[in-house]
């Protein structure tokens, strides 16, 4: 590979994954491709024989595909939402984190958005949604809101990427035409910066309501039915909180992995992990509050069908998952993150992984028990996911890792220009801002 990089770049560590990916990179890519190919084969088999190859049946007619759909879309809230909130609140420590978070959103959203299609009995009739769709169904609201979120978050990822693409273009990184095409003639002039800033400001304000609406509408799929355990008014905010919660955990895991693999200790410092993990801790508490009020109201209402689902979760077949969820989402992360001695990188890693697992179980606990306990006296449903469903889950995760690796191969995962801007300007801006918060000095000292 030829590099026009005559002078060493101050942020060479960030360009390293692009300029010298190393052998290991390709081994992992091949490994992932093998898994993805096999998943593709399994999916074709499902297309050929029908959904019978899954473990779904009556009355549990939704299984892993819908669970993973909700789960992946939940993870996707990591990105755009967190990064928009951090940008909007002018948190200076956001600089190395935002890009990573936004990439998660774009990739995971694409994977999650495909899950309802995998779940269809007749994917060949998908065009019926476009020609004969009915606005009445929450599924169509989802199609619209996920499309909006996907386009918004991709644009929100792309626009702050333009100056970095220009850096790569100027360094002559191959494939040149790609960077030339995407950089859109960025030269870093003052006017260009102004345009970019203005666009980013509009986008981050827009992206927050879109992100909130997406997970609210996903919760509506369940909440708009009259089924016990689903028909709940707090489902919208409950899902949004869970989504942000699992999203933060996903960013933390990725940050730790990148820091380790690409030696980014200089960029992702302990303070970033500390701040984000405190955010994770807060979300854990909020999540617990929502879970608590969701189940307490159900329990006090004591509606017989509601109680059947309730006891199925608390002491029935799903009790192991339910209590594991409480441990993973609440007990373990709170215990680890409350104590500054365990709020170290390994501690944060354990807490984050446990939150991701716990949030997946939360989706499982929302989807299956309500279906397994119909209102009329049918036998309780059983759901044992088949090999096909497990493979498609694994395949989804592999596509995510592969997608992230491909992105990291071509674009910097930490925003170079924003770091540079931070080095040069943010200290001054922050001092000015803090001065503006402070009460005005005494008139005697303020005068000229």
């Amino acid at each position: 590979m030829e590099h026009a990089s005559a002078r060493p770049h101050p942020d060479a560590a960030l360009l390293n994954p692009i300029e010298n990916p190393g052998k290991m990179y390709y081994y992992i890519v091949v490994g992932l491709l093998v898994i993805i190919l096999y998943t593709g084969f399994v999916y074709v088999r499902q297309l050929w024989y029908g959904l019978g190859v899954t473990g779904m049946a009556q009355p549990v007619t939704w299984g892993f595909y819908i669970i993973n759909f909700v789960f992946f879309i939940g993870i996707s809230h990591a990105g755009t939402l967190i990064s928009a909130i951090l940008r909007l609140s002018k948190a200076e420590w956001r600089r190395p984190i935002t890009r990573m978070a936004e990439v998660i959103t774009a990739i995971v959203l694409a994977i999650g958005g495909l899950h309802p299609i995998i779940d269809l009995g007749r994917p060949d009739r998908i065009s019926h949604l476009f020609f004969n769709g009915r606005l009445q169904s929450p599924l169509l609201w989802d199609v619209a809101s996920i499309t909006a979120y996907f386009t918004a978050s991709t644009i929100y990822l792309y626009i702050p990427l333009i100056p970095d693409i220009a850096i790569l273009r100027d360094r002559g990184v191959k494939p040149r035409w790609l960077y030339e095409f995407l950089a859109w003639g960025w030269q870093g002039t003052e006017r260009q910066h102004k345009v970019l800033d203005r666009a980013m400001n509009i986008l981050m304000v827009m992206v927050i309501p879109i992100a909130v609406s997406v997970h609210t509408i996903i919760s509506y799929i369940f909440a708009m039915t009259v089924q016990p355990g689903w028909h709940s008014t707090i489902f919208g905010p409950y899902f949004v909180v869970g989504a942000i919660f699992s999203g933060i955990a996903a960013i933390l895991v990725l940050m730790i992995v990148f820091r380790k693999v690409f030696h980014l200790e200089g960029y992702l410092k302990h303070i970033h992990f500390n701040y984000l993990s405190i955010l994770l801790l807060i979300m854990s508490l909020i999540w617990f509050y929502f879970t608590f009020s969701e189940y307490l109201t159900g329990f006090y209402g004591h509606e017989p069908n509601e109680m059947r689902v309730f006891w199925y979760k608390f002491a029935g077949d799903f009790a192991p998952y339910f209590w594991a969820m409480i441990v993973c989402n609440f007990a373990l992360p709170v215990a680890l993150l409350c104590n500054s001695k365990t709020r170290t990188i390994p501690g944060i890693l354990i807490a984050s992984i446990s939150v991701i697992i716990g949030m997946w179980m939360e989706r499982l606990i929302i989807v299956v028990p309500s279906l397994a306990n119909p209102r009329l006296p049918y036998p309780t449903g059983i759901y044992i996911p088949s090999h096909t469903e497990w493979m498609l889950f694994l395949g989804g995760i592999s596509v995510f890792i592969l997608g992230y690796m491909i992105f990291a191969r071509f674009f910097p995962v930490i925003s170079i220009w924003e770091i540079e801007e931070g080095r040069h300007e943010s200290a001054k801006i922050v001092t000015e801002r803090i001065t503006s918060y402070m009460p005005d000095p005494e008139p005697s000292t303020a005068g000229e």
Binding site: Y49, G50, L51, G52, G55, M56, A57, Q58, P59, V60, T61, W62, P116, D119, L120, G121, R122, P123, R125, I126, H128, L129, N132, G133, R134, Q136, S137, P138, L139, L140, I221, M224, T225, V226, Q227, L371, P374, R375, L376, P377, Y378, P379, G381, I382
Partner: protein, 226 residues
Amino acid sequence: MKWGMVIDLQKCTGCGECAAACKLENNVAIVDSGESEMGRTMLWMDMLTIYEGEYPRLRVRQIPRPCMHCDHPPCTKVCPVRATYLNDEGIVAQIYPQCIGCRYCMAACPYTVKSFNWYKPEFPPGMARATNPDVSVRPVGVVEKCTFCIHRLQVAKEQAKFEARDLREGDFQPACADSCPTGAIVFGDLENRDHQVNRLAHSPRAEKLLEDLGTEPKVIYLKEVD
């Protein structure tokens, strides 16, 4: 016109003849025993097992359960492609070529009456040639359910038109009502005062399943009186 069904539990013996007749009439696929164990049995008319009381005064009853054909159906509201809808005569109809198989209607139905074709429908050897020619065999991957034998309504309407008269009460009877040995299932127009169902629906014994959900089912059960 509003088609409805009254099931008199006083007369019903729980024999299951209606369920068998329904299966044959509507070409409902017969899944193998392994599939059936998994819970993929397809029954448009199912038998609900109801346990009453405690031992030694335990009573077990089997009651027929067709689709309730609600007036406010929770299933049609969630269908993204209008593959299920409430027609002008009060029947919750299915359009099989339209269904994309998302199974949202199955998840939304509080009575859990819908079945899904997990595999291509199959019939035991010999039976495939004995299917009812009036009813299409559903393809793989679509949701199906009781239609109040809507194909029979079409035949009855044609016949009445041919004979230049109005539809009479006995002209249109679904297979379950036809086959019931004790006459426990009565079918007809709920809005027509001359029909038996209209009178029975106002009986003090009349009750509906999960009435408090506001789905307004058009299948009415007549309570047993001891």
